[in-house]
Symmetry: D2
Subunit: 348 residues, 4 copies
């Protein structure tokens, strides 16, 4: 297969930088342009010294209308803040080229959820139906040949992979679910803020976004999909003093008698053929997934209190964002799904 | 008041070192002996360079029977592993001297819980009734004049202070509660283990002790006490890559209509006179309590899903262990409750 | 002694917050006002939750001319960026009130050094002679009764305490010295910047300010003072992924045969009566000084290569800034030098 | 080229785990056996969950004599403590198979240095001449076709790449050099020790191994080689609170007038064709190299004090150990030198 020409719009943020890191090792996807309006003219390796050797003289440029056609781009990734992807997707999505949005603009299927959770109407709701949700573990068939992919939110991938097989098997109730999760700081993005300085974060652990985090309806959408019934989730994110990684600890009520072994058997069967998912007996750790596309999943049943606890860990920037996007793109384009990705994490 | 002679048995562990740090600034409690069998002969400042200037030539010595009488100790703190406090408390507790156990041996009132959660019968159950639970916010009156104090577990203090006023007010159900908490690594103690090396912990977040953590029955004991009904709690601890600090995020079902403001009003009233408890609108952060005896507490009500979320943060070694022990000892001995303690945390 | 009324100008930065933390436990220094122009109206405990319990409703206010007289301030601390202290010191310094500047504006005695290292002429050079350099270990006598104190730079205190006794004893050459030091991130201050975000700093170690750091002439000033000859220093600061702490590793050429034991004997004699300095055989660690006013110092002589290595560690915000300022103020006001300070550091 | 069968002896330590991580993505090197006597029977993914997905059921086994022949190994890597490699290398080195030692046993050419720095005579000094020093930047020609490779020490690679071109060009004196370096904690290996627990290391910075670190003679050997004269180095390592990364800040005396630009021009020319070395204007940061085989190098000249400062940063486990070993093996076996390696580091 001849190499595909790739453009990354919004490549100066963390998901863009992670895409650049991954695509440096992808034999079929050649990055020919990286845009970043605020960084136009800056070399990639200047903003991200970690990419200095791999990308040499490549510099960010500003996006200009028509650029995708001009450069003959086969694939466009977008790493933009919510709301800003919509007009750009409308421009570059032509049914031929593969468009992969890493933002939130095409994740929710129900247009009514955008004003409620994101504060504004969706401007091109017609495309919501066409967008395929980029989670191969749930939508692999739909992704084959897709030309518009909505990459899931990082917390969403984590919670979904922990709970989906249990809901699909009818083992737990779809309502009354609590998702308690902790993320590394990179989830907050690159721009300096009072809340992401080293001195604010290091040696600190705290909850944020209580009751209002935007990944809530997206988790519910996925869980409803697999459960075949309206799921309801209380989601509490926390900030942990680390660069990367998400752990979701999920609490659900069993529909009937369950055992720890029974839960894990269902998880193992669901993920038996997955290239990146491990079902573990030990509680999943974020470090087991650092810098890789791996996901670790486990579950326990508590007879005493009548709760099921399902857990999943992954790297929020890799499997939780750019790695997941590459995996979905591989499926869409017909590459081996693991191309350019590794399941071997960085340790220690 | 003439100064009290203090002995610390088991002063080579982290709770012992924290006691030494705090008592270096306590005008009434003079440390005259610090024991640590495995460190006998080692200077305190050699094992803990942070105490080198404050403790000069003080060296650990081995415990020998009769030492408390020999040295005329007025106060004995014990910082020993579970099970090992019992014979020592039996020896040093004479009804005159104040004995403060920082371990788990006298925390649970029901002797039947020891074999179940700690794997062995209690050897002196008669003393369980005499031991006062060292949480001034709940048992201040009982602590006045007490001569045997059981210092609460670190997670237990955190979860209890988050939930107790809500249960006491009948705002939430005592069963079906989930306590999801994260702790810094010092909770695991000083001895090196594969699970507490820097490379295992840094950049990692994971759950541990799923369903089986020994602080579970202790949380239930406290919550049952204030609720006047049997409380039931699923407790999931996590390890966060930081030295100190615990955050407990607690989920409970409201008994009727509640609002966030209503919950906080109850918390504010309950803690109005407390010298170390702040009720906050912002989610509590562990860093706000670092190195201090402060506790930050908050709560929210979620109409959408029908959950109450109550949160508390503290420093596991200070308020969660040695600071809480000093506070309780101050009450027992008639000192101002805040003597030797500070509410001003280390930041950044 | 009746309590002194204290004002902190520029109390919203890290040195201001550290002063507030320390003065919360100082029996003689009562903070009556804390200014912070950009934070006017914000409660101290809102900006620094760690101070919420200790400072209750105290809010930052804007500085207004005449405020010191209006409030009858006995002591004024200034925690302001370079250059901005000069006019304020000119206003509040009246020969009665104690003024303690934590900035760089009065540290260098030679006015010619300001344009060269700080880029602007000093506006009130007449006060440079009156300002006493706030390092009690070198200038204790001059500090007694002083009314204008210039608190040393954090790196400067560290390097000076490592090297001064060796130079004073004539054991090492005053030129050709290399000071290689690493600091925690709080040295960079509170405002968020691309270089102090968690993601930029965590898991990173790098040098900065190569050849140009402004603490260079100040180190040379101190070492020249004790050596009685012009000292010359190459100073390389590094940023370490931690909140607090400075370690200086200093390289100097011996003037004649020296031994490790000989070097340490000189250090021990020099610091024998110091309340906060420990001379150690083990290499000093920043963690031994965390949150305390302690300094750990050591030295070795290398026969093979003909170098002397002198090391010192301290907490950059405590002994390296606000703790050192309180210590100097104690001397100036006649308090016991250790009032409000501790030598017992936070560990772990 | 048909794939090579690879065995890793001592694969349970950090360098072994890093080799496994890298070789998971190497198309020509197939790991067929991983030994680890203390972990025999344990699955690789159990000890290192980061490798669970990539290595599935591969378990450590004990080394047994004759195993290399039995399994027909083409390549053997050894990740063993000093002294223990010698007998194993004697067994597996047959002149056909490639043997790559990651330990220190074959690094020093002069047998007299082993008793002095490592405390014991070398047992097979005849092989010292045959072993090629595995630093392609200095010995690429000798590595082609080599069958015994001694992988350099992590600090040694760092300091050598910073200084070698300057010495080779005669710009700095070979004696009087100071190498001041800081390393992440993984350099201390996997076994838990009081000095590598999270609580000992986090928020701490300290020097260790003053005057006696074993990488000293190895740095001198390399610098002498390029200078053509006996080099002498004082080396001071420090421990930084991070998992990976080394920064070396090196001080040397210029032989004549030099400028910062002149120094960098020499570095740029020396490394123009190197696939993994970047010469930067900004001070090198360890984070720029995290998880990659990249090295960042820079230098400045200080006219004022007459010093040259040369700096280099790399990942101690990748380029500083296992990545460097793979790079050297690629050269020896005729693979493209970058096979299985990336220059794109993990950020943030």
């Amino acid at each position: 297969m001849a190499a595909h020409k790739v453009g990354i719009i919004g490549a100066s943020g963390f998901t863009g930088a992670e895409l650049l890191r991954l695509l440096a090792g992808h034999p079929g996807l050649d990055v020919v342009v990286a845009t970043g309006d605020s960084q136009a003219g800056v070399r990639v390796g200047e903003l991200y010294p970690s990419l200095a050797v791999a990308y040499g003289d490549l510099a960010y440029r500003a996006w200009t209308p028509g650029l995708a056609d001009e450069l003959g781009l086969d694939v466009v990734f977008l790493g933009l803040p919510h709301g800003t992807s919509q007009p750009l997707v409308a421009e570059v999505h032509d049914g031929q080229r593969l468009v992969v949005d890493l933002g939130a603009d095409f994740r929710l299927k129900d247009p009514a959820l955008y004003p409620r959770w994101y504060g504004a109407e969706h401007t091109i709701p017609a495309l919501l139906g066409e967008a395929v949700y980029g989670l191969p573990e749930l939508f692999r068939e739909e992704l084959a040949g897709a030309r518009l992919i909505a990459t899931p939110g990082c917390y969403v991938t984590t919670a979904t992979l922990a709970l989906a097989p249990l809901l699909a098997a009818g083992l737990v109730e779809p309502t009354g679910i609590v998702v308690d999760a902790a993320s590394g700081v990179s989830g907050a993005g690159r721009p300096p803020k009072p809340t992401n300085t080293f001195n604010a974060v290091d040696e600190n652990f705290e909850a944020y976004g209580l009751l209002t985090h935007r990944h809530t309806p997206e988790i519910e959408q996925n869980l409803s999909h697999v459960a075949g019934a309206a799921a309801q989730v209380l989601f509490t994110p926390h900030l942990a003093p680390m660069n990367r990684g998400i752990l979701a600890t999920c609490y659900a009520r069993p529909t009937g008698p369950v055992t720890t072994e029974g839960l894990r058997a269902v998880l193992r069967e669901a993920y038996a053929s997955e290239p990146f998912v491990a079902v573990t007996d030990a509680p999943p750790s974020t470090k087991a997934t650092l810098g890789s596309n791996a996901v670790h999943v486990s579950a326990v049943a508590d007879e005493r209190t009548g709760w099921v606890v399902a857990l999943a860990a992954l790297d929020n920037l890799t499997k939780g964002a750019s790695g997941g996007a590459v995996q979905a793109a591989n499926v869409a384009l017909g590459y081996d799904e693991a191309t350019g990705l590794t399941a071997a994490g960085l340790y220690p």
